[in-house]
């Protein structure tokens, strides 16, 4: 029981060992084993959810010494709180679906492919549960490699370019983060901290100049991963080239590393700096929302359109998180899960028609509703969830983000961001119309078959979640609430003092947005407990 987190995280590695002994020609067995392993991992992760006590503490903690090298002491320190809990569950939940989606799509090098997927799962889970900064970094890098291979080997026409682009973008950020990490560690040693444990560093009082530089290094690494405008261009390429499962995992989980990084590390470690940069980050987030929506509108490739819609959605997450209040952060976290479910589902859907027609160009389709009614219904539901229709999951997150943003100093940013709800309806519905409605006039589409049982089985859990999280989101919110409150209490006082400082000395110039709105801001409500 106490090793539940480790067990969940390393079960996929056990699966990899198992796969090694299976001949590479027995594709069915390989797929079956990989699927079973991911399902078992999911089942094993469920007691984490049921056993999780609704408080702000880290739970299921395991903490043992790991590496001691020179001045460096790393510990195997893991645990989860309400913030990482859902991301862990999301990961174990999505993985079986991702494996299932490749059943017929990947025919070459099945063994290696499955190994990559399982390694990836361990990497992602590890990153979400790490409470040791160095351990986090290791897992962060571990994720990168299987993904690189998944895109580079099983990708589309332009896979090498996309894979290298993905790798280099992410690597640039990671290296900066590593440098910052080591610098932070030495700062910690001076203050009497003896290892890389994250919790120790929360109490470290850094001056604003140091915070600023460290924050920038972390923020850049995470911003690339999110991805935030203008660092987003690797994403459409990676998504279009990646095989379906790659896209699903990339969208549903990997991107969350970026936003999770802000919530778990960048903000609580460097609260004053984070607060100082909130206007800049919010600006980029809002630009991302509008920009990505406009670009998505004119895409010719369905998958690229979905990729750009991801950029817009994650802009909402960033805006919410940087509202520095409870509603905003809760909304942001919910939106992370929602995006995982909805966009994951969208990529699966794109995969379904790609497998049938080997094209993703919108103009090649039209009128599919007639031929594929089940597919049409599912596609419609997911589309609506993606544009945040009330009753679906997308709405709750988006609403809380906007509400939180509106109550914070980022009011005007929020107003602009809210117009994103119009644009998202435009590009999604227009795409849906061109693919699904109209005459079924392309002869190649007239023989299309509707979804088979396996494909429906993949989609049903996602559809169910879309409605459950939309109609009854409170269980999700309740579990994350204490952790969010704690985070707010960590970053909020810092924000308050930062606001009272006349001007920060070492702040790089060039974001004039702070001054006017900060004064008549509405800082207080976030900490106030609901009077009702």
């Amino acid at each position: 029981m106490s090793n539940l987190l480790s067990l969940t995280t390393f079960l996929p590695i056990l699966g990899v060992l198992l796969l090694l002994f299976i001949p590479k020609d027995s594709k069915a067995v390989l797929r079956g084993v990989a699927f079973v392993v991911t399902v078992v991992t999911f089942l094993v992760s469920l007691p984490i959810l049921t056993g999780f006590r609704t408080n702000a503490e880290f739970q299921f903690v395991e903490n043992v010494p790991w590496i001691a090298a020179g001045p460096f002491f790393m510990r195997y320190n893991i645990g989860i709180d309400g913030i990482s809990l859902w991301l862990v569950i999301l990961t174990t939940f999505i993985m079986p679906l991702a494996v299932l989606s490749t059943w017929t799509a990947v025919e070459e090098k099945v063994k290696e492919y499955m190994i990559c997927l399982l390694l990836l799962e361990t990497g992602m889970l590890g990153a979400f549960i790490s409470l040791d900064l160095f351990l986090f970094y290791i897992f962060w890098e571990v994720m990168l490699i299987p993904m690189y291979f998944i895109i580079g080997i099983w990708g589309g026409k332009n896979k090498i370019y996309a894979a290298v682009k993905f790798f280099i973008f992410t690597m640039v950020g990671s290296l900066l983060m590593l440098v910052a990490l080591i610098f932070l560690y030495f700062k910690g040693i001076n203050a009497g901290i003896t290892d890389f444990s994250l919790l120790h560093f929360f109490d470290l009082k850094l001056d604003l100049a140091t915070q600023t530089w460290l924050f920038l290094a972390f923020a850049l690494a995470f911003a690339i991963k999110v991805p935030m405008f203008p660092l987003h261009t690797w994403l459409p390429d990676a998504h279009t080239e990646a095989p379906t499962a790659g896209s699903v995992i990339l969208a549903a989980i990997l991107l969350k590393m970026g936003t999770y990084g802000y919530v778990r590390f960048a903000m609580p470690l460097f609260p004053e700096a984070a607060y100082k940069f909130a206007p800049l980050i919010a600006t980029l987030a809002v630009i991302g929302i509008i920009y990505a929506a406009l670009v998505a509108m004119v895409q010719e490739d369905v998958k690229k359109l979905v990729a750009y819609s991801s950029v817009a959605h994650l802009g909402f997450v960033m805006l919410g998180v940087f509202a520095f209040n409870e509603q905003g952060i809760t909304g942001g976290l919910l939106q992370m899960l929602n995006h995982g479910v909805s966009t994951g589902a969208l990529f699966l859907i794109v995969g379904f028609i790609y497998e049938r027609r080997h094209t993703r160009l919108i103009t090649d389709f039209g009128g599919l509703s007639k031929q594929m009614p089940v597919f049409a219904t599912i596609f419609m539901i997911v589309t609506l969830s993606s544009i945040g229709l009330p009753g679906t999951n997308g709405f709750v997150g988006e609403f809380l983000v906007l509400l939180g943003g509106f109550e914070s100093e980022l009011r005007w940013w929020t107003v602009v961001a809210a117009s994103g709800v119009i644009l998202s309806a435009v590009y999604m519905l227009w795409m849906f119309q061109r693919v699904m409605f109209g005459e079924l006039d392309n002869p190649k589409n007239q023989k299309l078959t509707d979804l088979n049982a396996r494909e429906i089985a993949i989609m049903v859990p996602l559809i169910a979640l879309i409605f459950i999280m939309g109609v009854y989101p409170n269980p999700f919110i309740e579990k994350m609430d204490p952790a969010v409150k704690k985070l707010v209490s960590q970053v909020r006082p810092a924000a308050m003092t930062a606001r009272q400082m006349p001007s920060a000395p070492a702040l790089p110039a060039g974001h004039p947005m702070v001054a006017p709105t900060a004064e008549h801001g509405s800082a207080a409500p976030a900490a106030v407990v609901n009077p009702h």
Binding site: K165, I168, P230, H232, T233, P236, Y291, L294, V295, M297, V298, Q299, N325, E326, Q327, T330, G331, G367, S369, P373, L389, P390, G391, F395, V396, F399, L400, L402, L403, F406, E407, R411, T414, V415, A418, S419, V421, I422, A425, V426, L429, Q433, M436, F437, G438, E439, L440, V471, Y472, P473, N474, I477, D481, S522, P525, A526, V529, N530, P531, H532
Partner: protein, 668 residues
Amino acid sequence: MFDNVWLIPLFPFIGFLINGLLGKKIKNETVIGGIGAVTVLGSFIVSCMTILKLLSLPGEERLAEVKVFTWITSGNFNADIAFLIDPLSCIMLMVVTGVGFLIHVYSIGYMHGEEGFYRFFAYLNLFTFSMLLLVMGNNLLLMFVGWEGVGLCSYLLIGYYFHKKSAGDAGKKAFVMNRVGDFGFLLGAFTLYWFMGQNHNVWTIQFTEMAKSSHLLPTGGIVTIITLCFFVGATGKSAQIPLYTWLPDAMEGPTPVSALIHAATMVTAGVYMIARMNYLFIRSPETLMVVAVIGACTALFAATIGTAQNDIKRVLAYSTVSQLGYMFLAMGAGAFAAGIFHLMTHAFFKACLFLGSGAVIHSMHHALHHVHSHDDAQDMRNMGGLKSKMPLTFLTFLLATIAIAGIPGFSGFFSKDEILWQAFSNPHHGGLNLLLWGFGAVAAGLTAFYMFRLVFMTFYGECRITPKAKDHLHESPMVIVFPLIVLAALSVVGGYIGIPKVIGDTLGGIPNYFEHYLEPVFKYSHEYMAQHAAHGGHHSVALEWGLMGLSVLIALAGITVAFTMYVKNTELPARFTAAFPALHRAVFNKWFIDELYDFVFVNPCKAFGRFLWKGFDVVVVDGIVNGVAKVVMGFSGVFRYMQSGLIHNYAWTMAFGVVVILGYYVFK
């Protein structure tokens, strides 16, 4: 007391689930349609019981909130799934479930044999469910759920014939324009929530709580901003200038949809929303003026377009836009009860008109289909003389037309006249009042004209359909005619529950039951007005009678002109068009507003998106990225010779190095 009201939305939702999930397997139209109609009938019965219970209470106690469960809680924000029962929501319940039920019944006949019959009823039930959430929600967020939900159903039902491109386009247009409005709604909600919380520590989105704290709000200022945001939402949903253009296109949907969604219920949501938050709107004279002016302009503007359309449903669509304008005019005049009254009577006669037109189209379609003609079944130029072929349809249609035209004694007369009088006499807009009244009165004349034009073109004169097809024209089955009769009856008598004071006084003191009934809902506004506003000038009873007479005369004039042009001298319209070709072209093409929007919003947006993609993403960002890669490759292209692995290269380099070093020491 009202513990069972959650059944009201639940029934149609169950209907939606059954038909949506199993309808394809059920196949039997009677069962599917039966489920659709019976569930709404169930809601109607519970609604009736609810309103009876409400009426049994004394006036000030007619308010109840029924909580089902907590929906979202975060920090100081809380939203419940909870229902509000008060006179206003009960009226809306009656309209939505009552008219809704009739239209469900009608649809069984109308949609007979259509592909996707089950899909239609599933959507229709889902719509009813959403609409009920909208009117019953006790907080802004739940109202918004219904608000977007009805928008979705509207989208799905407009695009019901999805294989037609025009239907897909129309659905999308409706959804997007509604979303523009939703954007305003959300901003209004945020601003209100934040302002009340920040300044008065009242963190609520519940209507009753907001009403109780409304005295904390200032007059104008922030309230103007809030109410204007909400009004943007209303213009989207209720098809007012500038967001009205989706409604005429929405006629792509099956006719029952036009009757239910685009006439009787959904499009009135904006009016309902303003009435629900009347205590806010009354606090902003500026917003009231904007609402009144937009309403009056829409009423007139849409009526002008209605005069030149040949598609029977489009005429009715513009008529709806115009009538909604009246309702907003009432809201802007602070005459909330009058607006809701017109909402109700309009639901009766407009639903009757749409369903009647549907019966005509159905019959026309059938006849044309029989002779393999591709003539347009909705074009009035192909109709004529249907009076004898479809006597019941004609009679009900005529009654509803008289009602909408504002002929005394019919429901439309009472409600419209009350609005016109309030527009003239309200204390809010000073000198503008005369203009508001004038717009309304002229629009009333145009309404009478285009409606009777429609009646004359459709039911009178020579039948312009091919003689062979003519024999196939026939009256509709009972399942279609029955709803028409009920609605026509309501169009005639529905007005007597809200007889304007001046008439009631003359008739021996009959009170305006309707206004009295709604009194508790608007009490905060009335209190506010009692404290703040200067009372409007006192107008004599004679003046009120005079204006009423004038508006009736204008309506009669409209009818006379229509009679002259379309029955007596049928060549007149052609001569008129020939005399004013530019004017006719402009009106016929809806004043080119769609083209204007395409030019100003749609196309630039697409072009800008394309520029950002091809220009910024590909050239600038990726240019930098790939540029860096190229630079690195360029350098490595040079430096790779340093590690070529060829011995003679290294030897040459070494020799060169030795020479340089030696040279340095030698010549130092």
